[in-house]
Symmetry: C2
Subunit: 417 residues, 2 copies
């Protein structure tokens, strides 16, 4: 079989994508499938079934990463991974993660049918909890030896929720920590994903070749004031944790918009205690996330945010505690893989450009252990992490075909140089 | 028996107060006993048991108000009510409500033992949900015919939580609405309470005679923006509901501090949806409460707050919805009862002053149907609705003795004029 003539089976890719869209679907056309929830478990069952139906080998490691493997004829051949994730943010969209995994499975099916003899094994892999319902990129970090005991001891929804989730798929925190790579050698990692930003669509590109992934940091700020009666405590004497936390949101946003427009910033959640109409808030926890393309910039922004929080707390007599900071360093994608993607995109007649990713992806866990690359397709209006997340079907299909051809090229060891 | 020689049994009052302090007690020395919770049900069981042990008649009406009755020898005698509540705010203090009810029970015990022949029946009454876990002042409003179907259809924690709570004490929304007064005539209402503000303690008064109770209004604001990816959505194009809601808290606080220092204002809770690190908040609900001593002032402040919310929403492209507004009008306490309290306080050698209440109390439900009065005792540091809420025991005892003597005077129909 001549690799250049193979292509994605559009009907079959569409069927896979549609099946996933219906697992955890929400009224607004979105998907609610947080990692290790009921819906995620149904999606995982679907993946296993599809893998077996396609005649591929199914495995799951100690971190819950599920693989569909198309083995090489060569014994002990290294693996090229085509990854993404089946979990979503709460009330998210249909494309984020699911498109990449539908395409990865389809690439394996096409190559299996074409009877290509590759010197590597191919592996479509569903990486656990990319979105951080418990621990962001848990699966890919565990697999690449980046996950620490501390990460697992401070999950976003608490240790009990994490343990329960792991238990539901038959794993434990211990098995997660000991799941690194073994027994295979990883020779490459590719991921197809929606851009989740407006750049490709606005400029009319078919494909974005990712140059690197921004670093991201997250922490929880706790403002601790004093509970008081909301009628009788004089306004000027209150130590109102809600007022300090709100002041932080307003001031931090202004500072970022003024001085850090190259970075991203979000306060995704605030929780008030005790949370009653007639009690001055005693404690408010605030979830802060920020992103930048280098660590130095992240350090400076981090310092700025913590200083603003301290100042807002001080103004209201409220104590500020900074929780443990979750850090993902910025990484570069492989130059060689970017070159392969450019050559194959051109061969397929696709208009492509290069751009950095402002969203984090499991690809960043792999960048330091193997040649790693990512393909972006346009997101309509740049909308993502919401039910209105959408990409045109032709763009999805283009991305899947590029993933197919780049996989064959990377797996064949044929560099384009 | 000469009424002037009777006094509260300090040991017995202390035992009642201590028993209540232990029901739903929290580590910090506080009490968590929201209306119709497990702890509240245990407190209600305690009240019934104490009533029967004291040889008083126990009844409960369709709104869950529990009464201990010391009947008059005269058939169809009107009732003088000594009220307060056993429920607390979440993680509240030991004194708010419990002191008033311990004292009310003790007043009935003392009068019963003294064998006083009064022309009225005396009733110590535990009024349901004063703090508004479901519907603020549910019990006293139902009893005095002020509760509407609409109030019951929009409870703070939702209709299911209300129905469940009512079911646990064997009543329904229907029985609540039909529980008005019958079959008795109410001839007076007295309530002993902690001040919950710093004024009495700071000026060294033993007793505050309440002149009136501020009006209070509550509503829920919902800011509706758009969920977006927290990394890829350009900062300036987001419709961030959390930013709009935080802007409201900051601006509203500043406006109240500048122009409405005679009023009270609180944002007790904010809830973010979906509430994840990496999703721009789509919707935030904000719980707003404000208080003033006349309705006109409340109208003006209400208009100001809604205007600020609209402006903050508009600035960020976020829609603002104002939920139904819960209203308690300001009321005056009876001049006659204030006079009785002053005369009896003087006779007991207590230093007293007059002051308005910035906290709402069930007393306001009764003010338009019978002579109504309230006694305040000092709150240390003005702290309330918190575990650190505290009043000196001598002050509690003073308040109970004043309640006893004012009750006898009011019940005897002996005006002081």
């Amino acid at each position: 079989v001549e690799p250049n003539t193979i292509q994605i089976d559009e009907q079959r890719l569409s069927a896979s994508f549609q099946a996933l869209s219906e697992i955890g679907s929400t009224p607004g056309g979105g998907v609610h499938r947080p990692a290790l929830s009921d819906a995620d478990l149904r999606a995982r069952a679907w993946f296993k079934e599809e893998t077996e139906r396609a005649g591929l080998v199914y495995t799951m490691d100690g971190a819950g990463n599920q693989s569909a493997i198309l083995g090489s004829a060569r014994a002990d051949a290294p693996h090229v991974l085509l990854g993404s994730h089946l979990d979503t943010v709460p009330n998210g969209g249909r494309f984020d993660g699911a498109l990449g995994l539908s395409a990865a499975l389809e690439v394996l099916r096409v190559i299996k049918e074409a009877g290509c003899c590759l010197p590597v094994s191919l592996e479509a892999i569903n990486l656990t909890d990319e979105e951080g319902t418990h621990v962001g990129e848990l699966g890919s970090q565990a697999l690449t030896g980046k996950l620490s005991l501390e990460d697992l001891d401070n999950p976003a929804a608490g240790v009990d929720a994490l343990d329960l989730g792991l238990c539901r798929i038959g794993i434990t925190r211990e098995s997660v920590l000991s799941s690194q790579c073994s027994p295979r050698v990883i020779a490459g990692y590719l991921e197809l994903h929606i851009e989740q930003g407006p750049l490709l669509e606005e400029s009319g590109w078919d494909i974005g070749i990712v140059t690197g992934i921004v670093g991201i940091r997250r922490f929880q700020l706790t403002f601790r004031g004093r509970a008081d009666h909301a009628g009788t405590a004089p306004l000027g004497r209150r130590r109102d944790a809600g007022r300090a936390a709100s002041g932080f949101v307003v001031s931090a946003w202004e500072a970022v918009f003024r001085d850090y427009l190259d970075c991203a910033f979000n306060v995704g959640d605030m929780r008030f205690r005790p949370g009653a109409y007639n009690v001055v808030p005693e404690a408010v926890t605030v979830r802060v996330e920020y992103r930048a393309s280098d660590d130095e910039r992240l350090d400076i922004l981090e310092e700025t945010l913590i200083r603003i929080a301290g100042r807002q707390g001080e103004a209201v007599g409220v104590e500020v505690q900074v929780g443990s900071i979750e850090r993902f360093s910025p990484v570069s994608m492989s130059g060689e893989v970017q070159q392969i993607l450019a050559v194959e995109a051109k061969a397929l007649g696709l208009r492509y450009t290069s751009l950095p990713s402002k969203a984090v992806h499991d690809a960043q866990s792999f960048a330091d252990i193997c040649p790693t690359g990512m393909i972006f397709i346009p997101s309509v209006g740049g909308r993502s992490h919401a039910p209105s997340e959408f990409s045109a079907w032709q763009d999805c299909l283009n991305g899947a075909n590029l993933l197919l051809h780049a996989t064959v090229r990377l797996a064949s060891g044929n560099s384009t140089a």
